[in-house]
């Protein structure tokens, strides 16, 4: 099956108009000896019936939210997606457009991005937001250059309570830029503020913390801000669970200079890790350090209100090797989905999602901690994730998988010191019955 409409007759007419005898002549610049002989060694074409069967069969080998209860979070969250979200986002006018280079026929995309920027500034408590980057981990990565623009320093300090994958990305980015990375440990599930204070100096460009952190604990972002600012460093706060912003204070109001994170929690399907939504917000004075697209309001030649991409001279297509970032394609469609989601559930809806997630997690925490041999790992305020010490994490996970549950994360895989510890997550999708079932399975595998 292919999507080439031209008939043989039409192709012949076109070749004639060009003045060549065959398509091969159009590839005359390619060294003949290097051309593919015959066809590539990939499978033969399939009909839509066949390919649907193939993908359905492959999908059947994956546990998923439709077949399993999920108590796994760790940076990706099983939230509800209202039907109106894909219905609208999949409109071909949005879905099959590209970057709004021609503003006159892209007012839909441009207005949606402007709304997105407004949503993100409301949620983060900061003044300006860009039109999205790839995901939470790369959004954090992009702030390395942003912070450098602010203070021209080449050392980053990052808390070990930041998502391990994010820290790996930071290490990769920093290595390639020649920026030093210092990791700061944790104490009872939160960043160790004394250690942080000890390492932050006038060489530090940025301090990076996450709240709620990877363990689910709510970090004292204001403390981090104080420590960073005392030495002239910027504070970057990251959020991996967007829905937490329905309940928790905007990090910008607690002193963060950059608030970046993952917007998958805004009703975006888990998709095995992407495409997700990196959001980035900062203060007005740092707007030019933001990477990627920004949409601004203006007027047309008749004075009518309209929207355009703006401050583009920051970007790679103009500034080339001196641009703040190389980003071009972002995650516009996912930003659109999040925009629609946040508009649809609105102020009360996001608070309800957060309430539900908080309540389910606290109920689960209470139930699981009643089990003999199971203890809370930390004693800290949390949102919808928490860590437990269990007698045997491997055995527990296996029992849960057996029982139709996608199990909580085994923390030992990322923190060697946390052997036999599980990171449990709940959202509005976890019913009481599921939680009780989880408790029963965990109890049964002692």
């Amino acid at each position: 099956m292919d999507y080439v409409p031209n008939t043989e007759k039409e192709s012949r007419e076109m070749l004639q108009a060009i003045g060549v005898k065959s398509v091969d002549e159009l590839f005359q610049d390619i060294p003949a000896a290097k051309k593919v002989k015959g066809l590539l060694n990939v499978s033969t074409e399939m009909s839509e019936v066949e390919v649907t069967q193939l993908l359905t069969d492959l999908g059947a080998k994956n546990a998923n939210a439709a077949t399993h209860a999920i108590f796994l979070g760790a940076g990706a969250y099983n939230h509800f997606t209202p039907s109106a979200v894909p219905y609208l986002a999949f409109r071909g006018e949005f879905y099959t457009a590209y970057t709004p280079y021609q503003a006159e026929v892209s007012q839909g995309t441009l207005r949606a991005i402007f709304e997105f920027q407004t949503h993100i500034t409301e949620l983060t408590g900061l003044e300006v937001s860009n039109a999205s980057v790839y995901d939470g981990s790369t959004a954090l990565g992009e702030t390395i250059a942003g912070a450098w623009q602010v203070n021209q320093r080449k050392q980053l300090v990052i808390s070990k309570t930041v998502h391990p994958h994010y820290r790996e990305v930071i290490r990769t980015y920093c290595w390639s830029k020649g920026v030093e990375v210092v990791e700061v440990g944790y104490k009872d599930g939160k960043t160790d503020w004394d250690s942080l204070k000890a390492v932050v100096s006038d060489k530090t460009s940025a301090v990076m913390v996450q709240s709620p952190n990877f363990f689910g604990c709510i970090e004292e972002v204001d403390q981090a801000a104080e420590i960073a600012h005392a030495k002239g460093a910027v504070l970057v706060t990251t959020v991996t669970e967007g829905s937490s912003l329905g309940l928790l204070e905007a990090p910008g109001k607690l002193g963060a200079d950059f608030v970046v994170g993952e917007g998958q929690g805004f009703g975006i399907p888990m998709m095995y890790g992407g495409p997700y939504l990196g959001f980035m917000a900062t203060k007005k004075e740092y707007v030019r350090t933001l990477p990627g697209r920004l949409v601004g309001k203006t007027v047309d030649s008749e004075g009518k209100e309209g929207y355009v991409m703006t401050l583009q001279a920051r970007e790679q297509h103009i500034r080339r090797e001196r641009s703040v970032s190389n980003i071009c394609t972002n995650t516009g469609l996912i930003a659109l989905m999040a925009t629609i989601y946040l508009s649809l559930v609105g102020r009360q809806g996001l608070q309800r999602v957060a309430q539900q997630s908080f309540q389910k997690a606290h109920y689960a925490h209470a139930q699981l901690c009643k089990i003999r041999g199971v203890q809370p790992l930390f004693n800290q305020p949390f949102y919808n994730e928490f860590a437990l010490r269990v007698p045997d994490a491997k055995k527990a996970s296996e029992a849960m998988m057996e029982a139709g549950i996608i199990p909580p994360l085994d923390l030992g895989a990322y923190y060697p010191e946390l052997k036999n510890c599980l990171l449990v997550c709940c959202t509005e999708m976890n019913s009481k019955a599921q939680i009780d079932h989880l408790a029963k399975v965990l109890e049964g595998c002692r």
Binding site: R288, L311, Q312, A313, I318, R319, R322
Partner: protein, 129 residues
């Protein structure tokens, strides 16, 4: 717009004016015209030291970005805050209100590396060929 006689010019279209030991610099009318509507001016920090012809500031239009080079070596003493707030001043009054920054010149002999207004006029004429 005529290129003022009392200024000296670079090949990159910057101008400099010497008054006592203070120098003032900006970009020429030709430059602002070529750049079209200027939307942003990025000035150096006060106190920054620089060499002649070093890239020292940036001006942006909607679709382009251009380096501004130092006409002489020196040290930045004063920034024109008016142009950071109203970049269109560079378009409207490039030789007067649209100046970019003042500096203490290090070596006035470097003026010999610059063009007089007459030479600059001829240089611009040669660009139009």
């Amino acid at each position: 717009m005529e290129n003022p006689r009392e200024l000296r010019y670079t090949k990159e279209h910057e101008w400099v004016k010497i008054e006592g030991d203070t120098a003032t610099m900006g970009i020429s009318d030709y430059a602002q015209h070529a750049l079209t509507d200027i939307v942003y001016v990025e000035l150096p920090k006060e106190g920054r030291e620089f060499k002649q012809f070093e890239s020292i500031a940036v001006v942006e239009s909607v679709k382009s970005v251009s380096d501004v080079y130092a006409p002489l070596s020196g040290k930045v003493t004063e920034l024109n805050k008016a142009v950071t707030e109203k970049p269109e001043l560079v378009n409207k009054e490039p030789f007067t209100a649209g100046w970019l920054f003042r500096f203490k010149a290090k070596d006035l002999n470097e003026l010999n590396n610059l063009m007089t207004a007459e030479q600059y006029d001829a240089y611009l004429a040669s660009l139009k060929h």
